[in-house]
Amino acid sequence: MNLYEYEAKSIFAQFGITLPPGARITKPEELRKIHFGFPLTLKCQVLSGGRGKAGGIKFAKDLKEGEELAKNLLELTIGGSKTESLLVEPKVSIARELYLAVTLDRTHGCPIFIGSAEGGIEIESSENVVTLPIPYPFHPYVARDLAKKLGLKGSLLLKVADVATKLYRAFEALDLDLAEINPLVVTTGEDVLALDGKITVNDDALGRQELFKGWQSKHLVDLSDRECRSTMMGLNLVELDGDIGILCNGAGLTMATMDMVKKFGGQPATFLDVGGGSDQEKTLFALEIVNENPNVKVILLNILGGITACDDVAGALVNFMKKNPETKLVVRLRGNNQDVAEKMLAQSGLKLIPDLQSAVKEAVQQSKTPVGAKA
């Protein structure tokens, strides 16, 4: 779950990281109540990236300009996401900028610090990036090692190491996947402030982090409506541009099926992993949500049972076909209770295809047949 900048900053503050003063506004006229003076920075609160380039950050020299800019910014849509609010901050007098993050590193299998002596950058494309694995349990010396590797000295080394320590504490305490300060600025007065930040909370940890209880639904704004509903049901749906709706059990098999569809000339419309051990209700929901997509001409259901019982899947299919007799279905079903499932579906006039490659080819062919295609 990605957080808005203002939310990330409230967490930074909670862990003792110094911020510039700031206020969140949802109406231009709220600017009048702000106690710190002009010039001001107005920043769109959106979950998508590329805010700066999309014109989502503006500077106002006085209230009149501020209100005008605020009005426009509050109506701005960036990367498909509507601006949720504005974060207003005084313009900071910057001596230098740094980059600081904690994230999980696959290769080391542990959290790492990422730092750069240049901030406000796209970290993926920066040349001067320093990384440092973080042993568990953490001790602050690791943060000092990082600051040293960034070439810092004296009190600045101590201040940046202190911020890095606090950033790690937040990362660990709140089960974050990413805690990033970019840029971390050093002001002309030698203060070290988190000017902008990004936090990604680990989705699997949401159930044990009191702070984020109930936050999930309002943070799915970069997903389509169907993707959101799937997420809330515990299903992983990714919508694509094609016309073949793919449902499988297991992430790898779903990707492989998608790859095969494409290889044999078809266009996937959905990636939908229904997971292991899905029950009838969940499978039915999955079929319905794929079917809702108006681009879908044919649904390819590929279930290879390990945990999943084929008869449960068949039950869901029978129900679905009753409600949606027009929908084209290609079904590959293999595993536990396959024989029972076969009988159930035969009664509904649906033939199972036991071999995946044949099923994929059949689905591709059906997607290209105009007869009986949905309007």
Binding site: L104, R106, T107, G109, C110, P111, E124, P135, Y136, E172, D175, D177, N202, D204, A205, G207, R208, N236, V238, L240, C248, N249, G250, A251, G252, L253, T254, M255, A256, M258, D259, M260, K262, K263, P268, F271, D273, G276, G277, L304, G305, G306, I307, R334, G335, N336, L356, Q357
Partner: protein
């Protein structure tokens, strides 16, 4: 075969839960040498004839188990995993999906510190066909033979084992390393084990998008692996920036694409398939070549 065989004594953590109990039954039916279940507070009970203990330490003491397979809920996995690791087992197979990755990182560090092999989490387990099944793999799909398999995926492993078995290419051992970004055993250690295993002729590596594990595997193959490797990468057509089911399956910042992985593996001398059926063709070819030698 690697890691496990018919003599491996296995205990099941979370054996009395719904999933644990049903897979205990299946593993027993397969012939796996399960010796104990562990569920705190249920000591003295039995599950499908298996004695249940309150603690791993007691189960190990009473039964001599050397391997644990774990089915506990995600937020209890760190505790259960450390219990298994600290008890001095050889191998811990962590099936549980949805463990917060910082917990996994702690488990991985603990396993390393204690010299315990950890497979998973979010994995289907390990099978040495006709000998033992540890986890949730559907045993009937796997046949005994000379193909060693390593995979990040569950059902995709079954799919490929299915077409391999149908084509007469049985498996020495299949290891599902799991779909999470942070995990226990990875490709290099398992490639090394299969390379050293006399029962394995060909190694099948099933990867997917996300991370750089396949690139690291390629480097390892180039350097150390003498046996033929057939690789398959799922997600060749996945869009960037979207998590494709597995927590680890995401192309981010242009990194972790199937393309770069396939190229690295090809460059390392592996045969790289684009469909499960191609995997079969390549294994057939490799075995035919070995037979000619």
């Amino acid at each position: 075969m690697i890691l496990v065989n018919k003599d491996t004594k296995i205990l099941v953590q979370g054996a009395t839960g719904k999933m644990g109990a049903s897979h205990t039954k299946r593993m027993l039916a397969y012939g796996s040498k399960l010796v104990a279940g562990v569920t705190p507070g249920k000591g003295g009970d039995t599950v499908h004839g298996l004695p249940v203990f309150d603690t791993v330490n007691e189960a190990v003491e009473k039964t001599g188990a050397t391997c644990s397979v774990i089915f506990v809920p995600p937020y209890l996995a760190l505790d259960a995993g450390c219990e298994a690791i600290d008890a001095g087992l050889d191998l811990v197979v962590l099936i549980t999906e949805g463990i917060p990755p910082q917990d996994t990182a702690k488990l991985v560090a603990q396993a390393k510190a204690k010299g315990v092999k950890l497979v998973g989490p979010n994995c289907p387990g390990v099978i040495t066909p006709s000998e033992t099944l540890i986890g949730i793999l559907p045993g009937v799909i796997f046949k005994s033979g000379p193909v060693g398999m390593i995979s990040r995926s569950g059902t995709l492993t079954y799919e490929i084992a299915l077409v391999l078995s149908d084509a007469g290419h049985g498996q020495s051992t299949c290891v599902g390393v799991g779909g999470d970004p942070i995990k226990g055993m990875g490709y290099p250690e398992l490639l090394r084990a299969f390379n050293d295993d006399p029962a394995t002729e060909v190694i099948v590596l099933i990867g997917e998008i996300g991370g750089t594990a396949e690139e690291e595997a390629a480097a390892f193959i180039k350097e150390h692996v003498k046996k033929p490797v057939v690789a398959y990468i799922a997600g060749q057509t996945a869009p960037p920036g979207k998590r494709m089911g597995h927590a680890g399956a995401i192309i981010s910042g242009g990194k972790g694409t199937a393309e770069t992985k396939m190229k690295a593996l090809t460059d390392a001398g592996a045969s790289v398939a684009t469909t499960p059926n191609e995997v079969v063709e390549m294994v057939s070819k490799a075995r035919a070549q070995l037979a000619r030698k």
